[in-house]
Symmetry: C2
């Protein structure tokens, strides 16, 4: 029985009508109406700007949600690891970009095995790393598209813009690889101290990458794709002329960090954790059955302040153990043992990686379970 | 082919001889020699003190390692959740304690289903929570042993010692439950500023719990088990007269936090993560393919300082993204793309929960894979 007000999105009949009180906790709830709204909004934004949208599937790791993104106009998906590419390829996705510096012949062999049925690209950021992939593809007489990662200020991986031409040239010399383009991820947007700071990072991400692409082109190499990343910067980076592709991931769910950064409102958050209060040892402390095994211990961005918002309350999850979320009870609020609460986690992507299944809800009703098919794909 | 120097522990023949360079990364390595040594040392310590040892299986979540603990003399296992109890019960373990305030009739039904073949106990810390279990067991005409959680200073869950008699009495009134004893977990030992601080917490944990047990007995209730927890405090708490049981978990693997706390030496650490350097974007920065999806973002205890030691180096993992471990390269050290490194994580238990399988190694050789059978058991 489904809710009278909402047609099933998952195309499944017979979804159980389950009130939240009947769900065993902890459980991850994904509101499909919010997902669809987020998916449509980002697709529309990319369409308006004339850039391709290649959402990062790491946030949901769910085949059905990847299909919703394609149905809304995404050109393909981004993934982080070769084994994630395998999961989505097995489900029929035929355009995948491993947006990570892929290193190693073992990884190259995984990609080669997909190359006959998937338009594939892999990230690279060093000649040494690129040669490990080249070795595999060259030996098989195939060619792998690669994208050069450029560091535009996050200082994690990627070549600095001033070394991009040199590294691009040494990659272009490898006959088993084809340089498709350049890409970046402005992760430092998550540390911005204001929404204006996020905007600045996004605009600078786009312009740095476009300039870098131009320098590589000036050196005589073709650059077909100029691809920017990250949910907070997406709206801004895609306004820069010359950007051709955008790879936000988190927008599909959003989370407490996006709310804190000003990227979205609370009602744009699709993923929450349903938990039960298991202990109220003191008036200012309540403990739920969702700890770091359920919520992860990722900090709130841009500044750490607990481990999750309690939906509809001012109280926050102040600390975590593996199975305990310790709520600091705000003045005037109270919790009782056995009560259900919904927690908005700091970081939705890592929550997905902790659970084999999530419950898809719609209009407050459980419509079905979704398998987190690419959970745990670390290789 | 196994190493000539080491007979297989897993009882498997044909284990592949695999050098570390041939292992696809990231991979979790568990050194069985170190595990066996840790298991034997804690068992001997408990035997010498005359206390039962009921190791917490949350650290490994592996059936084979639980069996090693029983073989060394453990009386049973502790687990954190009802679904973990189900996994170990299905593997034949017949004495399990769910060391967590178990709340809810759904959880009660899970436990009831095991009660015919497992000597079972569940943690409780409130009359309201206890009544949810009582309802299920009373209705079936069965009785569930429960242990009252006492807060001896960690201030997470548990009744304060001055309320223990009152709560114990209200639980003893429930005909579906039988109060087996009292238990604690001195998690505040992980915040101690010195090994002497850890010792003080351990001694205080034991004496507070023994005194609390005595007060409950003085009120006319039987207390059969007086059970202390935690790896750092185990050696100290079990010296207190009146303690009957000890439930350390982490000692089976240890980790960077235990080394930092002074609980063990580096060579007592059994679990490491094998990773590949995928990027060396700057002389002071190297990035490995193990991020928070592999190492978790749990902080180093007692004081946060990065996200893992690089074994054999002075360099540390300074920050994490989901798939990136960013190493701050120590002066005089260098890393190259493609190089394998071993990382000692901050917290071994949470690493176990992130992986379906670990590689069992012995004398530097991979002896086989072990399934992390109770991974992801959050309910």
């Amino acid at each position: 029985m489904t809710s009278p007000g909402a047609a099933p999105i998952l195309g499944r009949s017979g979804g159980a009508f389950l009130t939240f009180d009947a769900i065993e906790t902890p459980a991850v709830l994904v509101d499909l109406d919010v997902v669809l709204r987020n998916v449509a909004a980002m697709a529309e934004r990319a369409r308006r700007r004339g850039v391709r949208l290649r959402p990062h599937a790491k946030t949901h790791k769910i085949v059905e949600i990847g299909r919703m993104q394609l149905a809304a106009g995404a050109s393909g998906l981004s993934v982080a690891k070769a084994t994630e590419a395998e999961v989505f390829a097995a489900a029929g996705f035929d355009d995948l970009f491993v947006a990570y510096p892929v290193v190693g012949e073992d990884k190259g062999r995984r990609l080669l095995a997909l190359a006959d049925r998937v338009r594939l690209a892999a990230g690279v950021d060093s000649p040494d790393g690129a040669r490990t992939l080249d070795a595999v593809f060259r030996a098989s007489g195939c060619r792998l598209d690669v994208m050069l990662k450029v560091d535009v200020g996050f200082h994690r991986v990627g070549v600095s813009p001033d070394r991009a031409v040199e590294v691009a040239q040494s990659i272009a010399d490898l006959s088993g690889l084809r340089l498709r383009g350049v890409f970046t991820h402005a992760g430092h947007a998550y540390l911005a101290d204001s929404p204006e700071g996020v905007t600045r990072v996004g605009l600078s991400e786009g312009s740095s990458l476009v300039e870098t692409a131009q320098r590589v082109r000036d050196a005589g190499l073709e650059i077909e794709e100029v691809s920017v990343g990250s949910t907070p910067t997406a709206a801004h980076a895609m306004t820069v002329k010359g950007v051709t592709e955008c790879r936000p991931g988190n927008y599909v769910y959003h989370d407490a960090s996006q709310v804190s950064l000003g990227t979205c409102a609370l009602e744009d958050c699709a993923l929450t954790v349903l938990a039960t209060v298991v202990s109220v040892p003191a008036p200012d402390r309540a403990v739920v059955d969702a700890g770091s095994k359920t919520l992860s211990s990722d900090p709130l961005r841009p500044r750490g302040a607990g481990f999750g918002f309690v939906v509809g309350r001012r109280s926050r999850v102040a600390r975590l153990s593996e199975e305990h979320g310790v709520i600091e009870v705000a003045a005037g609020e109270g919790f009782r043992v056995g009560e259900r609460v919904r927690i908005l986690p700091n970081h939705a992507c890592v929550v997905s990686n902790l659970h084999d299944r999530v419950l898809a809800i719609r209009a407050g009703v459980v419509e079905g379970e979704l398998a987190v098919a690419a959970r745990g794909c670390v290789r």
